[in-house]
Symmetry: D2
Subunit: 365 residues, 4 copies
Amino acid sequence: MSGSVIGNRFKIMTWGESHGAALGVTIDGCPAGLLLSSEDIQKYLDLRRPGQSKMTTQRSEKDKVEILSGVFEGMTTGTPISLMIKNEDQHSKDYSNIADKMRPGHADYGFTEKYGFRDYRGGGRSSGRETIARVAAGAVAIKILEGLGISIVSYTSAIGPVKASSFDEEDIMKNPLFMADLNAAKEAEAFVKNCVEKGDSVGGIIETKVFGMPPGIGEPVFGKLDASLAQAMLSIGAVKGFEIGDGFKAAEALGSENNDEFMSENGHVIKKTNHSGGVLGGMSDGSDIFFKVAIKPTPSISKEQNTVNDKGENVSLVIKGRHDPVIVPRAVIVVKSMCALILLDALMENMTSRISYLEDFYGKK
Amino acid sequence: MSGSVIGNRFKIMTWGESHGAALGVTIDGCPAGLLLSSEDIQKYLDLRRPGQSKMTTQRSEKDKVEILSGVFEGMTTGTPISLMIKNEDQHSKDYSNIADKMRPGHADYGFTEKYGFRDYRGGGRSSGRETIARVAAGAVAIKILEGLGISIVSYTSAIGPVKASSFDEEDIMKNPLFMADLNAAKEAEAFVKNCVEKGDSVGGIIETKVFGMPPGIGEPVFGKLDASLAQAMLSIGAVKGFEIGDGFKAAEALGSENNDEFMSENGHVIKKTNHSGGVLGGMSDGSDIFFKVAIKPTPSISKEQNTVNDKGENVSLVIKGRHDPVIVPRAVIVVKSMCALILLDALMENMTSRISYLEDFYGKK
Amino acid sequence: MSGSVIGNRFKIMTWGESHGAALGVTIDGCPAGLLLSSEDIQKYLDLRRPGQSKMTTQRSEKDKVEILSGVFEGMTTGTPISLMIKNEDQHSKDYSNIADKMRPGHADYGFTEKYGFRDYRGGGRSSGRETIARVAAGAVAIKILEGLGISIVSYTSAIGPVKASSFDEEDIMKNPLFMADLNAAKEAEAFVKNCVEKGDSVGGIIETKVFGMPPGIGEPVFGKLDASLAQAMLSIGAVKGFEIGDGFKAAEALGSENNDEFMSENGHVIKKTNHSGGVLGGMSDGSDIFFKVAIKPTPSISKEQNTVNDKGENVSLVIKGRHDPVIVPRAVIVVKSMCALILLDALMENMTSRISYLEDFYGKK
Amino acid sequence: MSGSVIGNRFKIMTWGESHGAALGVTIDGCPAGLLLSSEDIQKYLDLRRPGQSKMTTQRSEKDKVEILSGVFEGMTTGTPISLMIKNEDQHSKDYSNIADKMRPGHADYGFTEKYGFRDYRGGGRSSGRETIARVAAGAVAIKILEGLGISIVSYTSAIGPVKASSFDEEDIMKNPLFMADLNAAKEAEAFVKNCVEKGDSVGGIIETKVFGMPPGIGEPVFGKLDASLAQAMLSIGAVKGFEIGDGFKAAEALGSENNDEFMSENGHVIKKTNHSGGVLGGMSDGSDIFFKVAIKPTPSISKEQNTVNDKGENVSLVIKGRHDPVIVPRAVIVVKSMCALILLDALMENMTSRISYLEDFYGKK
């Protein structure tokens, strides 16, 4: 897909800029009959909001979602679902001194080269705020997946050089960094605090596990499930890497070490190991899906930087205002949302894979 | 995109299985007026052929491409270009003993779960041989890009644990592993030879550099250039990871270390560093594009493995016949081809970004 | 395209139901740098509003459009443009007595069969009101086309059996039926008045002329310009036919009568006649484009009708409330809008037809 | 869709020119498990071949289809199906005297304007011969539809001014014009013979009936079933009009005359009348689908014509060689094929309309 559309069956188009009137998304192809309320969506948007801890920005964003169409008497009708979140607290004056400067690490330069000019307020369309629309759409997909017994767990596994060394799903919601290792979380919080004092920023790694995916989902060769996940993850701002299963480590292994042997257990086919990360040949293989996403440090730092302005002149730049020292925690729900959109779309596409499916559905004559 | 189609403006549909009559691709949307001959394509297919060295399979594959449509008097007409490569030397009897067994590390299980049955000969559609169609289409894209001053250099940077420590572009074609470091290549060749003796296999890493991309190319938010590259790379069989610029290392850096400052030099805007890998905010930023792809070891090994058969019974499996101990060298041209397809598509999509472009093209009234 | 998305380069997704909170559209791929204000759009929405004359419904609909994204300092930014029109005066109680009945001539039955249930208020997504989103998007396309010297004139050429016999463009806006023949308009107004008294309804024909299209626009074979126009027109509710140029009359002509000969005049190639209606071989041929759209009579009539209800039981039905006796006048701007969307999309797609275009744009190396 | 691709789930890409090496089509998304042989396809290609009667061209075209991929042991595998038909008897010398002339009524001018030059042999990509690829793909769709109890009957209802006045399905295959009225067929054959003597050509009308379509199929608003059919039909060369149900006649009727009342009969919901032609609100309504397609007279006539050449100079033109005086009979199978492709695609898309469908398929948790 190109531009602001992603998905084939469960297709979404997002819109909105950091300092525009609102942001939102329209979902086309959502099946009818799903119970859906704004609460189903709001709870995930709240996970994205800054100000939930000292770790993230102190900007106040209420982010209330409104369902404008596609739902009647509490159920999706099968018609397009339009979700909107109005912008409220976006101080335009924060950005006036940098309106004509290309912030290093940001999309300012690219947007200007592409379009000839840009909405300089807070990054405009390139602001991390656009992800709110993805999370809104992802919330609907998550609900459908849960009804099918599929769950997604995303969490921070590293903040800068601080890496988690254990995993307890219950810990994820117990710290503002959403790490599944409370000890690492403490260490990471201290590291971030230090960044703030130095006027700097840090990145990290988000891991995701998916439970309950049936095998055979994915559309080879270009619609492979891992390929679609990779696109979805790299489309999130600040993401610089994606790996599934053993990922880059697999490049160093031998075939005898990396192959996951199949075996029969209680009439079910399972895999003895899971080096593949749950996707083999581009389709889910019945094991839990496991992938990692690498996020670079937030580009907006307080330290003085050198850059150029709209005229191509060398200038100095100091970014004032309130910025996240680390965006990884806010991106956790975005990763989960994008994952849900991709998985649901693939599950829907798979439903026409066999003639027998059509015959069962319409009746064989 | 889904299934066997990729691209928006320069759109391709590939087809063909390892042991079918032929493989091929149709290109829709190739601009008219490009000088194109089968030699332009054949030279890249030849880089894919096994038997070029002891490093890869001894199967003999002539792989001659035929241009069946879309070219008239040596020039593309703007109509669909159909390219076909007939299959010749594919010994069906190689695979008879495993027809009903799910080979570990392969797509057999996924295909069977998805479609109910599969073409068991050599992996059918999931065979690495399907990449020949990608390389054929990529060759056309590469030629167009070269006419625009854009070149792509892909090479092996690691085979298993053996990593290159220097880079000389001239070395790439001087060793059968396509490494840009002849010393590392020697060491790697020995490592691979050892794998063959043990009946095992190994993976590696392929790096790619792109020179000459103008800035501003890519279609945020879901058609971001790095997102599209990630999808394209993960769609290649055996790929388990993708990173751009500093990739996963960026996750450990500070903002002040990772940001690339802009500066003006001779009237041009350039970046002092290139931690971004040439893509920022999802669009090319004027620097060379740089990304890495991780490839797992070839699943087909001679060692005995445990698995299940079509009936879900536990069985033992020994894969006979001729198989690559390492597929990384063959994948180098595939990576370059996919890269070319993505870049060209994005360059074409960018041509309607501004009203002024339409006015220049059609005339402002 | 499927569902609620149409277009390849200038892509739109519409949403909204007759009695939901609002309706709207998001435009993806609109070039940057277009001066755009809500007035540019509002003027076309006002052409759609009922109550402008006795000919159409007395419902009061203010239909004020809001631009929620994609425009900064009065210019399109190249990012998605979200347009919204809130619903205000939609009396839900008008429809309570028919909530469970399948209105003849309407989509109620289809929606129920497809989705299992439906938003019964005013037709929900199938209401003619969804066209307000199309007109909003079409307004943007119309503005771009006008900047390229392309204009579209749509008008009513027949209301029921009353057919126009002359054409004066100035007359179109001088009568509430938008006919280009004031005499026929008078006769048609009387006919419609008579329908109202009988509690019945009538249909008609809308013609469209396009001036200024350059030749060669359209993407054979499936993206032919006339094929795309046909899809766009038949997608409008109540449309039952489309013909271009001589249309169905061409089926009765001889080749020597139907062929348009080319000739050179003042250094320009023109056609002596225009039986083709401006599209030949699926591409514009330099002549004015001319096509007709047939619209069936409004299904909602006051007369008693027989039908079934949700349970499949035979019931009687009387549709109360305020309904248009003829929707043709309201559809004129919808036809023009859909035409604009299709033409603009094709003009944008055409910009990559030749290698020389890419070379001119990026520089030949 | 654009270019040479059509379909969303059952997606095809066609290729090939009149005088190229071959023509063909690749089908992506065909469900696995369908018994498919080249005979299933060949029988429909044979209906397209000229020389079957004095009515059509005396050119000899064998048109043997080859299945190159996607079928294993007689069944579709779910992977792309590539079908190819080699060109054999295409006399290039027939066209040399007109290589630089724009034939009236043909796409020559459009192609030259679009691409800068064209394959002048026999119309190249714009030749009616490209439809052979559509028929090949359509054959697969027809087979699947028949397995679901859906059948399509297409036939000629008029040749020039000669109109059929009765309908007997058995008569269709009993005359070379494929009319369902043998008396009209005789009269039409005489008319065509007269055209040949005068060196002229004639057009006609093709009607289509579809039996067995379940209700609710179609994807409002832009993927409406009738909109998709209209696009498909207008994409066929020489088609200038499409109407469904009462079509243009509906524009003259009253609502009380045009509405189809629903009624319950034997526990089934049916419609008393079928003015809608089987599609209501863009979705099938349970009645037989009925539509008409208008075809202009063949542009290639022997009479001398005036035109321009590549340089824009006025020239005279006489088209030599063997040309169809009427292409309507050959287009009948093309209409049926395109109809099959559209219906099947819509049936497949409909399978994800409700949450309950997903729950039935994957299991509700």
